[in-house]
């Protein structure tokens, strides 16, 4: 059974790779159709702004099928592993990474069904793929749970809920990235680079190895700020409100909307994850909150998405600024996820010593 789950994971990884290629082919085919459309050749523009040529739709269907296959293989692998281990597959970094990948795949497929935006896969699938590749580089042994984790029900629910939240945030990230890519991307990339370069040494001074993450976070913040300055100064051409996306990508408003919908799904799940984590900490250690780095990181993530929701709903932020908050939120999500590799603390169960 353990072998079987291993095979399922390999199959899932291959399907994800193939699906990514198929989605890429789909995107290229769409791009060509967009060019041909400007040249006056036959093609159709969907209601949501994606242009498709004669073969595009067929390629898209194959890509979707491969995406579902990857999801199902991954699910099967996780189920097999749970059966062998006699608990949810959430005990070490290996299992958790695969579960994270599953979360991203499942939420992506869900949003694809609902919004028919296959292009999001170009970001979401590589995120899931990277998680799987990462899982294959670390030990896969089935370990017994350390005493602190021996609370099956809470563990399973806590992590399962977290995965849905992370998956939704990955989808929101995909949407915001595709959004930003159509805009002032050169400025943005430069801002991220500069901020990353500045922030990494600062991080190093403050916390050694975590400097790396500091740099990453700094890059996100810096990019957000430079994007915002660019927006404020009116640099570059705004494309908000354009009827169709650039380079055959979806319409900006659609991406903006999907980003929001994904956060609306993810936010309550993140809230629940944090609450369940607190309940668990209270039963295991007698303190529901101890500012352990992983707790803190999840709290920061929660605040960032909370700010995003207010920005969008109450202050009517759309477009650039909202998209940047989503990028920042996803950086924080990754920070939360990888945090325990760097920080130790109560969550140091990664099994990577």
């Amino acid at each position: 059974m353990e072998k079987l789950s291993g095979y399922a994971f390999v199959a899932a990884m291959l399907s994800t790779g193939l699906a990514t290629i198929a989605y890429l082919a789909y995107a290229i085919s769409g791009l060509r159709a967009a060019r041909m459309q400007t040249a006056g050749m036959p093609s159709t523009t969907g209601a949501l702004g994606f242009v498709s040529g004669p073969r595009t739709a067929a390629i898209g269907r194959y890509a979707t099928m491969l995406g579902w296959m990857a999801t199902i293989f991954l699910l099967a692998g996780l189920i097999f592993r749970s059966i062998v281990a006699g608990r949810g597959p959430f005990a070490n970094m290996y299992e958790f990474s695969l579960a994270f990948a599953f979360g991203v795949l499942v939420t992506y497929m869900f949003f694809e069904r609902r919004y028919h935006q296959r292009i999001l896969a170009l970001v979401a699938l590589p995120v899931a793929g990277a998680m799987m590749v990462y899982a294959f580089t670390i030990p896969a042994t089935i370990e017994p749970l350390v005493p602190a984790l021996q609370n099956n029900l809470l563990l399973t629910v806590h992590v399962a809920v977290a995965i849905v939240a992370y998956g939704s945030f990955a989808v929101a990230f995909a949407a915001s990235l595709l959004y930003l890519l159509q805009g002032r991307w050169a400025l943005v990339a430069a801002g991220m680079l500069i901020a990353g370069i500045v922030m990494a040494p600062v991080g190093l001074v403050m916390g050694g190895i975590t400097g790396l993450l500091g740099g990453l976070l700094g890059g996100g913040v810096g990019g957000a700020i430079s994007g915002y300055i660019a927006h404020w100064a009116g640099l570059g051409k705004s494309f908000e409100g354009e009827a169709s996306g650039r380079w055959g990508l979806p319409k900006p408003q659609v991406l903006d909307e999907i980003g929001y919908r994904a956060v609306v799904v993810g936010y309550p799940f993140l809230t629940l994850t944090i609450i369940l984590g607190a309940v668990w900490a209270d039963t295991a250690w007698g303190t529901y909150w101890s500012w352990d780095p992983k707790e803190t990181a999840s709290f920061v993530t929660w605040l960032i998405y909370g700010t995003y929701l207010h920005a969008r709903v109450v202050r009517g932020w759309r477009g650039d600024r909202a998209a940047w908050l989503l990028v920042l939120g996803f950086v924080a999500t990754l920070f939360t996820y990888f945090g325990n590799l760097f920080f130790g603390g109560l969550h140091s169960y990664s099994g990577l010593g």
Binding site: V146, V205, Q253, E257, K294, T296, L303
Partner: protein, 493 residues
């Protein structure tokens, strides 16, 4: 002064003596300041800035190592701790001290953090209070007869031409709204005004979601003020220790076992078998495990960690046993290698430091030995009055007492907690989740309709304040479609 002589305002007994700052202009100024403050506190922009600033504090707090709780209040422990981390922050000489005075090692206790959290709390309350009247009004007395201009400027609006009479149209439109779950209100002057809403009470779910955060914060503060917490309740096997709550409770550790997994050699279970005593009498027995604490009333004992202990017997000069108990090696000496247990000998003013070996390479304390340093707590001097290394199983005379290091045993470290605020924290958490989940799942919806007469039929204008959704058709669009279909159905003969 403008005030009438016969009716001095309360509390202004001294005011008659001369001009004071309570003149109308000053009051106006105070009013202005208060109004500005209120405006600031209910401002969304300010709330967002506060939230992001707290997030920034969180990032710092998770990147820079934080002082364990308990260390920060104890000046000596604080200095020790700072010296311990100094090598990590040695880019320039004063780095650690500068970081310490900026409270970077205790971000979540820092003044700035407290201020930010307080501001957020006040802002949450202010915001909620600010919104309540409006929410009640839209739920109970919504405006039904909006003007014609609204139907041209609302974010989503549609016009439908009907063949039916206005009265028939009105019935059909109301019918569609009701079928879709809307409550409908209608008023009629020369035109017919239709209003429909769904989930009008769900606005309050959002409000409750916000206020629940205040409940959680109140729980945390209550726990901090009225709670009891001892995270370092160490007991050696065989020993009994008094709980610091002054209720006559004590805990005896019968034994402690660690089970290791046969394959990975990692600990798979810690179990402390304990007896709970009140005024010396047994009242409960329990095996405390990581997810299975011992509860007594509102006091809870959790398994925290464990380690080794020295079983010591100490007799006075006449041979009377002063104490025979396990001393947990729950401290470590500054050199970091040797473990330290501290024992105050009952009936004397002596405090013993029992120092364990650091292993085979230890030239001072060999394995199978302990070093005993005797301090007289009555004396001001910090130097021991006697200091000897003794062998296991052999009685030795130290500072006039007979001491035996019987054997090595184990100790368990429990965490004792009483937290009356935790109920509020869970209640708040529940409201937080349910509040926001409901608000997202059942969003409050409102539509307005306006039916006017035309030559042989009616014109229906529909509008809503909800934004158009670029990605999928909105409820409003579906609703308008339904109304269209209903109006197109063949008119009954």
């Amino acid at each position: 002064m403008v005030q009438e002589a016969g009716t001095p305002p309360i509390g202004s007994a001294g005011a008659a003596a001369g001009p004071t700052a309570t003149g109308p202009t000053a009051m106006d100024r105070v009013d202005g300041v208060l109004e500005g403050l209120w405006h600031l506190l209910t401002s969304m922009r300010v709330a967002m800035i506060i939230m992001l600033l707290i997030a920034v504090m969180g990032v710092i707090g998770s990147m820079v190592i934080q002082m364990p709780s308990g260390v920060s209040d104890d000046p000596a422990a604080r200095i020790d701790w700072l010296n311990g981390v100094r090598p990590r922050f040695s880019l320039f000489a004063a780095q650690t001290d500068i970081m310490s005075s900026l409270q970077l090692f205790e971000v979540f206790n820092s003044i700035i953090f407290r201020i930010l959290v307080a501001l957020l709390t006040v802002s949450l309350v202010a915001c909620s209070l600010h919104r309540i009247p409006g929410l009640i009004r839209t739920a109970t007395k919504p405006r039904v007869d909006v003007g014609a201009a609204f139907f041209q400027h609302a974010p989503q609006h549609e016009t439908i031409v009907a063949r039916q009479t206005p009265a028939e149209t009105r019935a059909l439109v109301a019918g569609v709204l009701q079928r879709r779950g809307y409550r409908t209100l209608v008023t009629e002057d020369e035109t017919i005004h239709v209003y429909g809403d769904r989930f009008r009470w769900m606005q309050f779910a959002g409000l409750i979601g916000h206020l629940s955060l205040v409940v959680i914060m109140a729980g945390a503060i209550l726990g901090g003020i009225a709670g009891y917490r001892d995270q370092d309740f160490s007991i050696a096997e065989g020993a009994t220790r008094l709980v610091g709550t002054n209720e006559g409770l004590s805990v005896q550790l019968v034994d402690f076992t660690v089970t290791y997994d046969q394959v990975t050699d990692m600990p798979s279970d810690y179990a402390s078998s304990v007896v709970l005593l009140k005024d010396g009498k047994e009242i409960d027995r329990h095996v405390v495990r990581v997810n299975d604490p011992l509860r007594y009333g509102d006091l809870t004992f959790y398994q925290a960690s464990y380690g080794s202990a020295a079983q010591m017997t100490i007799k006075d000069a006449s041979g009377k046993v002063l104490t025979s108990e396990g001393v947990p090696f729950s401290w470590s000496l500054n050199d970091g290698d040797r473990s330290l247990g501290i024992l105050s000998v009952p009936g004397t003013s002596y405090t013993l430091w029992i120092i364990g070996t650091s292993g085979d390479s230890d030239t001072r304390v060999h394995p199978g030995q302990v070093e005993v340093q005797v301090f007289n707590s009555g004396a001001a001097s910090m130097t021991p009055i006697d200091d000897q290394v003794i062998d296991q199983g052999k009685a030795a005379t130290v500072a006039g007492m007979t001491m035996t290091f019987d054997r090595e045993s184990q100790y368990t470290r429990l965490s004792v907690a009483r937290d009356p605020g935790v109920v509020l924290v869970w209640l708040g958490s529940l409201l937080l989740f349910v509040g926001f989940a409901l608000r997202f799942m059942l969003p409050h919806k409102r539509v307005w309709g306006r039916i006017t007469t035309r030559a042989n039929g009616a014109i229906v204008a529909m509008a809503t304040l909800a934004q158009k959704d670029a990605a999928i058709s909105t409820d409003f669009e579906d609703l308008v479609n339904d109304i269209r279909t209903a109006l197109q159905a063949p008119v009954q003969a």
